[in-house]
C-alpha cells in the first residue's frame, strides 16, 4: 500500500471564512470538516503530462498573438515544484491565468474599464521537468479594482493551478510580486496566516532575467509530501 499524503497544513492555508474577503461569508462551510484516512480514491489523481501541452502554451508573450506583440513588461516566471521533503514533483502539469498589463482579464464577465490587448490571451500551461522546474514567459499583470470594499485593488498576481501526484496534493494559489504596496491592503492575500504569506511572493532574480528580453522572477511551489511508512513492530 502506498504511503498516505501528509494532511493539509492549516497553519499555512487560509481559513474558509475570512470576513475581510466578503465573498467568503456565504461560501464558507460552517460545519467542521470530517477528517478521514485517505483511500486509493484520494491517493490517486489525474495524470496529465507533456502530450497535453502545445508548443506555445508556456509562452504567453506569443500564444495570444494576432497582429503584433502584447503590450507591457515582459517577464519570465520560473520555479520548482517540490514536496514537503524537498523532492521535485516531476512531470506535473502547471496551469496559469492572469490579467493583461492594464489589469484586464479577457474573461467575458470582466467589466473593468481598462483596455483589452488583442495580442494577449493570459492563459498558459506547462509540465515540470526532472528537477520539478516549470518556466513561463509572460507579461507582468496589472493591478485592477474590484468591488470588495471602497477603493479595493487586487495586487499584481498570476493564478496557478497544480494537480500534483494525487487529488490530495491539489493546489490553486496565486503568485504575487515583491514590494507591492497593495499586498498590505488585499484581503485575499491577508487571508493567509501571517507566517505563511511570504511563500506567495515571487523573488526578482537577475539570473533568471533574459538580456534584452525580459526580467525574471523565481517562485517555488511546495505541495504535500508523503507520510513516512510506520515501521512494523
Amino acid at each position: 500500500m502506498t504511503d498516505q499524503y501528509r494532511p493539509r497544513d492549516w497553519d499555512s492555508h487560509p481559513p474558509y471564512l475570512h470576513a475581510g474577503y466578503k465573498s467568503t461569508v456565504l461560501r464558507s462551510p460552517t460545519k467542521p470538516l470530517i477528517p478521514m484516512k485517505q483511500t486509493l480514491s484520494e491517493m490517486t489523481g489525474p495524470v496529465y503530462g507533456h502530450e497535453y501541452v502545445g508548443a506555445l502554451d508556456a509562452d504567453l508573450t506569443k500564444n495570444g498573438m494576432v497582429n503584433g506583440d502584447p503590450l507591457g513588461e515582459r517577464i519570465i516566471v520560473t520555479g520548482r515544484v517540490l514536496d514537503e521533503d524537498g523532492r521535485p514533483v516531476r512531470n506535473t502539469l502547471v496551469e496559469v491565468w492572469q490579467a493583461n498589463a492594464a489589469g484586464r482579464y479577457i474573461h467575458k464577465t470582466d467589466q473593468h474599464e481598462a483596455p483589452l490587448d488583442p495580442n494577449f490571451f493570459g492563459g498558459g500551461r506547462c509540465v515540470t521537468d526532472d528537477e520539478g522546474r516549470y518556466t513561463f514567459r509572460t507579461i507582468k499583470p496589472g493591478a485592477y479594482p474590484w468591488p470588495n470594499h471602497y477603493n479595493a485593488w487586487r495586487p499584481n498576481h498570476i493564478h496557478f493551478s497544480l494537480l500534483g501526484p494525487s487529488i490530495a496534493t491539489r493546489l490553486v494559489t496565486q503568485m504575487y510580486f515583491p514590494g507591492d504596496p497593495l499586498l498590505d491592503l488585499d484581503p485575499i492575500y491577508q487571508g493567509t496566516p501571517e507566517s505563511a504569506r511570504e511563500r506567495l511572493i515571487s523573488q526578482f532574480d537577475i539570473g533568471v532575467t533574459e538580456p534584452n528580453f525580459a526580467l525574471g522572477y523565481n517562485f517555488d511551489i511546495v505541495l504535500r509530501g508523503r507520510k513516512e511508512t510506520p515501521m512494523e513492530a
Binding site: 461569508v25 461560501r27 462551510p29 460545519k31 486509493l40 500564444n63 524537498g86 490571451f121 487529488i167 493567509t192
Partner: protein, 196 residues
Amino acid sequence: MTLKQTPSQTVGPYFAYGLTAGQYGYNFSQIAGSELTDEDTEGERIRIEGRVLDGEGAPISDAMIEIWQADADGRFAHPDDPRRPNARFTGFGRCGTGTDPQNRFFFDTIKPGAPAEGEAPHFNMIVLARGMLVHAYTRIYFSDEAEANAADPVMQLVPEERRGTLIAERVETPTGVRYRIDIHMQGDAETVFFDV
C-alpha cells in the same frame, strides 16, 4: 529537509479561460471537461448534475467542480493503482457553472465500480469558487447503492443525519440515467466536506 506548504488562494471569478476554456468558448484547449467517455468506454452511461448553492440558497455562477473517479471495475487511471484501467478513461472531469442558464455543473460519464472490497462506488468531488480561499473535498455516492453506502467506511465517519448530503438521486429520463445532487456550502443541508 522540511519545506512548508504553499498556501492556497481562491480560483477567482475568471478561471474559465485558463481551466475550462473550451466550455466557455475561448480559443485555448482544455485538459478536461464535462465529457469523460468515448465510444470505447465500458460501463453504465450516466449524467451527474447539480448546482452549487451559497448560504442564501442562490446558485453560484463562478464555481468550478472537478470529479475524480474509478472506472466501471473500480480501477483508477493512475500509476499507484496496479490494476489496468479502461483505455483512455482518465476518470477526471472539470466543469464551470457559468455557462448553464441554471448554473448547473454536469458530467457525462460512467458509473464507477467499488474501488475495494467493502467500499461503496463514489466520485471524489472538488469544489472551487470565487469566495473560497481553499478548495473543498466531498464525495458523491449513489442512491441505488443503499446497502453498499451503509457499509462504506468513509460514509460511516459521517453523522447519520448528514449522510444524505452525499447521495446523488438516480432519475431515469428518456435521454438516459441522471444522478442529481446540489452542493450546499452552508445551511441545514450543508454538504459534508472532508479533511482529506
